[in-house]
Amino acid sequence: MELLSSSIEIIARWDVLLALLIGAIGGVIVGGMPGVGAAVAIAIVLPATFSLEPIVGLTLLLGIYGSSMFGGAIPAILVNTPGTPVNALTTYDGYPMTKRGEARRALSLAYSASFFGALFSIFALMLLAPVLAKIAPMFGAREIFLAALLGILLVIVTHRGQVLAAAMLACVGIFLQTIGIESAAYTQRYTFGMGWLQSGVDLIVVVLGLFAISQALILFMDKDSKIKLPEVEKVGFIAQMKDLWVYRRIATVGSSFGVFCGMIPGVGEFMSQFMSYSYAQRTSKTPELFGKGNPEGIVASEAANNSVPAAAMIPLLALGIPGEELTAMMLAVFYVHNVIPGPQLFSGQMDFVLALYLCLLLLNIIVVVFLFFATGKLMKAMTIPNRFLGMMVLTFSLIGVYSLRNSLTDVAIASGFGVFGFMLKRLDYPTSPIILGIVLGKLMEDKLRTAMARVQDPWDFIDRPIAFILFLMIVVALVVQARTVWRDRKAAKADTQNSREAQDA
C-alpha cells in the first residue's frame, strides 16, 4: 500500500498528466496516419524529452507507444491499410467487416480488445512485479550478456522469411556501436582520423535517419491516392464494449500471448499476434471465416498486440535490455538522465516502475474514451496526402536531429541513415535489427568483457541457474530455427517436384 501511494505521488503532477494526455492523443493520431507510426513519432519527439524529467519524458514516449496501435486499427479496418505495421493482421478481418457494413462493430471490437489486452498485461505485471524484483538482482554480467544475445537471436529468427537479412542488419548495428573511442582501453576504432567519429555514432541520429527521414523519402516517392471513407454509425459506449464479452476467451488467451512475447527481448507484437491469431483460428467454430471478416480475428490480433507494450518494459526496466526499437529509444531517455535501468532500478526503485505502469493504465483509459467519441474526426487524418505527409515528417525530423547539438554533421549522418533506411523499406527489410544491434551490441561487449575476467573455463559461464536457463533458451531458439529451415526446404523440394510432375503430365 505504501508502495502504491509512493507511486501515485510520483505521477500526481500536472506535467506528468499533461505528458500523458499529449502522448496518448498524439499516439492515436500518428497511429491513425498510415505512413507515420509510433517509431517515427518517438524518433522525432525523443530529443525534446531529454530536457524533461525522466518520468515526464518516459510518460510522453510511453503514451505514444501504447496508444499508436489503437489508432493504427482505424485505417486497417476502414481502408485496408494498417496504420502501424503491427495492425497488419487486423486488416484481414476488419476490412471485410467494413465492406459488409459493420465498420462500427469492427472498430468497437478492436478498441475493446486493445483495451482489454492492455489492462490484462498491466495487471499481470503488477502482480508479477514482486517476483521480478527478486529475480532481477540475480542477473550478473554473464546473465545480462546471455539475455542480450538471446534478444539479438530472437529478433533475427522471428523475422520469418527474412532471417538472413535481419542477421546481416543486426551485425551492421553491432558494428556501428564499435565506431569511435572504446571505453575500456581508450583506443580508436574506425575513426579514419576524423574528429567527428571519435564520439561514435549517436543512437538518436541513427534512429531519426532510419525511421523519420527514410519514411519521408518513402512518402515522397509514393503516389497520392484518394481515400473514400466509409460510413461509421454511432453506437453507445457501453453497447460497444459489451460485444467483447462474447469473445472473452480469445481476448484472454491473446493477451497472455502478448504478455509472454513482450517479456522476451526480441519477440514482441508480431509473434504474439501470429500465435494469438493461429490459436483463435484453430479453436474457432467457424475457422473458414478467418480472413473474410471474422470478429474473432480482430479480437485475437488487437488483444495480443496491445498487451505487448507493458510487458516489453520488463526486460528494459529489470535488465536494461530493450526488446524492440521503441523500447531501445526509451533507453536513451534513461541514459541521458544517468538513470541506468537494470536490477538496481527494479529492486531499489519499485515505486518508479509501478508509477510507469499506473501511467500506462491511465493512458489506456484516456485513449479508449477518446477513441469512442473522436473516431469520426480521427478518420480525417487518413485523408492527408502521402507527399504532404512526407513534407511534414521531414520538417519535424529536423527538430529532432538539429536541436541535439545544432550540428550540420549530425544532420548529414542522419540523412545518410535516412537513405539507407529508405533502401531497406523499399526492399521490405526490417530496421529494428540495426537499432537492437547498436544497443545490445554495446551491452554485450561490456558484459562479456566483465564476465570473461571471472571465467576460468567455458562451463563457468553457464554454471549459475539463470545463465544456464538463458543458454538453454539460446540453444532451443537455434534448434527451432534449424528445424524451420529444414522443413521449409523440404516443402520447397516437394513443391518443385509436384510442379514438374504436373508439367510432365
Binding site: A88, L89, A170, I174, A185, R189, Y190, L394, R426
Partner: protein, 179 residues
C-alpha cells in the same frame, strides 16, 4: 520458392524484390572494405583476452555482415526475380535530391532564421512534389505552426538567423528568442 502454407496468416514478403541482390552486394563490398581496414583502424593489445580486445567486436560484426550477405545473396538468388534492379538503384539515387534540399534547409537556418527557412522549405517542397494552389498555402501555414509550437512555445534549441542582426534592437531580441 517460399513455402508458407496458404491458410497461415503472414505479412512478410515472399519472392525476391527488385534490388535485393544489388543491396546485398553493396553491403558486402562495404563490409569487405572495412574488414580490409581492420589492422590499422583497430588495435590489438598484447596480453589481453580475446573478449577484451578492441578489435574483437568490429571483426566479429563485419565478419557476420560478410557471411550473412553472401548467404542472403546466394539464397535470394535462387528465387524468381522481379526485373528492374538498376531502376531500383536509380530510385535510391533519386531520393538524394530530397536529402539535398533538406541539407540546404538546415544550412540556411543560421543565415535566414528558422521561421523564414521553414516556411520557405515547406512551401517549396510542396511545390516540388507537385502540389499547386491552396495546398501551398497549407504547407506555408504548417511551416509557421511548426515554428510557433517548437521554437516560440517549446523553446527548442535552434539557432537564430544572422539576418536578425539587421533588425532594430527591440525587435532583434524577439526574433532571436522566438523565431
Amino acid at each position: 520458392m517460399s513455402t508458407y502454407a496458404q491458410d497461415e496468416p503472414h505479412v512478410f514478403p515472399e519472392g525476391r524484390k527488385r534490388g535485393e541482390l544489388l543491396f546485398s552486394f553493396l553491403l558486402l563490398f562495404t563490409a569487405l572494405a572495412l574488414l580490409a581496414a581492420l589492422p590499422w583502424q583497430t588495435t590489438w593489445l598484447d596480453g589481453k583476452d580475446l573478449a577484451a580486445q578492441p578489435r574483437f567486436w568490429p571483426a566479429l560484426s563485419l565478419g557476420g555482415v560478410v557471411v550473412f550477405a553472401v548467404l542472403h545473396a546466394v539464397l535470394r538468388g535462387k528465387l524468381d526475380r522481379t526485373p528492374g534492379r538498376w531502376l531500383e538503384g536509380l530510385t535510391w539515387i533519386r531520393s538524394l535530391e530530397f536529402i539535398g534540399w533538406y541539407m540546404l534547409y538546415v544550412a540556411a537556418i543560421p543565415v535566414i532564421g528558422y521561421l523564414l527557412a521553414t516556411v520557405t522549405f515547406c512551401t517549396f517542397l510542396a511545390l516540388r512534389v507537385g502540389y499547386r494552389g491552396k495546398t501551398l498555402l497549407w504547407a506555408a501555414l504548417f511551416g509557421l505552426c511548426v515554428v510557433l509550437f517548437f521554437k516560440s512555445a517549446m523553446n527548442v534549441k535552434i539557432p537564430g538567423g544572422a539576418i536578425y542582426e539587421l533588425a532594430p534592437d527591440s525587435l532583434r531580441y524577439i526574433l532571436l528568442r522566438y523565431f
